[in-house]
Point group: D2
Chain length 247, copies 4
């Protein structure tokens, strides 16, 4: 099925939720997602306009085969302790698909994922002081942005891990959310980028020991971001164009 | 009818095509739009998802009453020789509606319209050398942008008026088209801005003596821009919020 | 003396600190600036590379005559309760000078000044809840920006007035600081814009009842901003160019 | 010597001109730079405020050792037929230095260099039709930008290779030049980016068979870009900060 049909207003958007899925299987991490973060997101994001699949790091081809990516309009990414295990050729093909038009929604610790650095060119480093629970308030700084629809002017997560600035990313094309933490930090927590024909959204919340992926506002934002990141109608055609490279 | 309903996927988008409509009524200008530019655009943009009206400078309240604007989701603007006649309170209310979320598609000589300067803060000045006919090629510099859907990688207008840089505008939030002219100029001819909750698109082609508003690609871009500029679902609600100003 | 000489590395930069200067003369406001905010800034910013003057709203021509502006490279602006008293033709000429290349450093309540709205096109509205003292931490979100030199990664003001998002400004060209407030708000508190040939910096701190303009970090930022906003060497020449407007 | 001293107004800026230097040594390519492009640039850019060195691909460690990079404030890069030969660990260390604050001026075919893709995240692909000589006019689209000082409003190169859009780069932080080609293309030919603490400028002219690096305007722009890309005074200190990464 072509991107253009899947991007029409009728065909559902093909979403792949990829999860590292290591900590949830290990009791020592005390995650609050017994079936995995991917399963929690899959259940919560179900909607007639989305055709959602899941895959994980320990699946064949790390869950990101050429075929799988070719059938994906928007990829949602959660990873944390195993970033280094992602094979470079997997990173290569995810990047290639984003440049062709596939959307990418990068969650929380994905700020250190290889694919994030590959697409943005920076380290993704940030200020981190503790993973003790902190209150986080996400403030919407662009009330007309579609990713913020339905959650403004702000919403609160009672317990989250705090991230602080400086966050080493390029100046975002659009800044949607800024977070306030009870421990004194601020963070650019909702950031839009475009690379090639693909749209990228980084969204901060989601430490594995806190319940953010059960929060209605967080889920609303992720759902909005998936729809915002859908490939342009032209992307499939465009990628096939005779775009001649310089010899 | 609220903005939110008109912005849903079902209710048509309420479009107002506003035209100065002076030169078309005066044979000396030799325009190629005997019924007016607004009429040409109205006819060509007709579509089930758009509810299009027209108004002109010589209508009551200059065609832009509070009521009319309140019922408009996206305003298309063409003006040229009578910019100075627009009353300041009309400019005030158009600006207010854009800040609330109404889209604005500013065409060609609108680069010198009061409302353009009001929203952008700059002079809108540009390099102008002649209105002799020139060939113009519009190159799409962002192939995934919805405003460029269906017209890339470039399209040609055999006869147009040339505009040149420097164009005194703020750096656009997104640059969509750059024009090449046979007389040696380039121009940022498709520029996106956001002000308040409203989206603004400036699109260069459309001198009154040339046939650009009969060109399929130009019309496709204007149609795309109207849909891109539709108010956010949240705009109506947002504007009604108790946003407290500093006393 | 031309801008180009004043912008060279030898001639001092001509700075004008303009202050509304009303509240400081009225005991009811309990400001902490007995000689005026302009005097506090003048004293603190003194430096061999700056030639600093001051003027106030109650001076002839509201302290902003054509001549005065022509001799100014960077204008620093503080105003609060008398924004509406600024004459429109004064706003016109300040805008014209910014478009020609004069820098503008807009402080605190200047978010509601006419000149700020004129140059940015938005309302400048923000979320305001109280002027009770709050702790503010300013986080540097671009550590290589010259305006942040010497004050990162963050600094604290023990008592300030809190401002909150949404702040109705265009997406800044560059975002330098984000503020955290003890009362739960965040704010984009250091924002760069360019309009025409002129650079604009908005800097949030400076409520009249708090001591921010005695704070070394605040003063360092304002000093950095003044130097960053200096006119381009080309600005004077450029403004004199035969930039032909479209007839 | 620390970056901070080299960035002061007194110590010269340490510039390294790196050149692939293959085509100039091979008569079949008919380059017009018998001593190499690096030598032409070195000679022309000589100035008391610059301490310029050169290195090439066939030097030890590909001319880009850790030590060499540690002593470089701004790196100028020209490469074309041997992009693939650059070792990945060399790309790693150049990227690391840019993120720390070293400036990068990427010339012409560098749009396909590994380091360019590494920092920008995109393919750098563009539309290419021929290397037959074309006339190129570079138009300055930001007359106050320091990189354009002294060359506006436009300048002409009688013979160059034409590049066309779409150019697959992220939307530049600042766009300085747009090129017009006699063969009908336009190109964003002067583009600013920031990654980490480092500034990057891409500048289009410079095909090996044409004389652009003898052109006074081209040289002026490259000289301006070198000075614009100098490390922030804070970069050295900043990079040494205890910026704690998330574990």
């Amino acid at each position: 099925m072509s991107n253009s049909s899947s991007s029409s207003s009728k065909a559902p958007l093909r979403v792949l939720i990829w999860n590292e899925f290591r900590q949830e299987r290990d009791a020592r991490y005390q995650t609050v997602y017994p079936q995995g973060i991917h399963a929690a997101l899959h259940g919560a994001l179900t909607s007639p306009d989305l055709l959602i699949g899941v895959s994980t790091l320990d699946d064949p081809e790390q869950g990101l085969s050429e075929q799988r990516l070719a059938e994906t309009d928007v990829l949602v990414w959660w990873g944390h302790i195993a970033h280094e295990e992602i094979a470079d050729d997997v990173v290569d093909r995810v990047q290639r698909r984003v440049l062709e038009g596939m959307g990418l929604v990068a969650l929380h610790s994905a700020h250190e994922a290889k694919i994030f650095a590959r697409l943005l060119g920076t380290s993704g480093a940030l200020l981190w002081r503790t993973n003790e629970p902190r209150a986080e308030t996400l403030w919407l700084v662009n009330p007309a942005h579609p990713i913020g629809a339905g959650v403004g002017p702000s919403f609160v997560l009672e317990e989250e891990e705090a991230f602080g600035e400086w966050f080493d990313i390029p100046e975002p094309d659009e800044l949607v959310f800024v977070s306030w933490f009870s421990s004194g930090e601020v963070f650019r927590s909702g950031c839009c980028f475009q690379r090639g024909r693909g749209r990228i959204f980084y969204f901060r919340p989601g430490h594995e020991t806190f319940r953010s992926y059960y929060d209605a506002n967080v889920l609303r934002v992720i759902g909005n971001a998936i729809r915002w990141a859908r490939p342009a109608l032209e992307a499939a055609a465009g990628a096939a164009e005779d775009q001649r490279w310089r010899p």
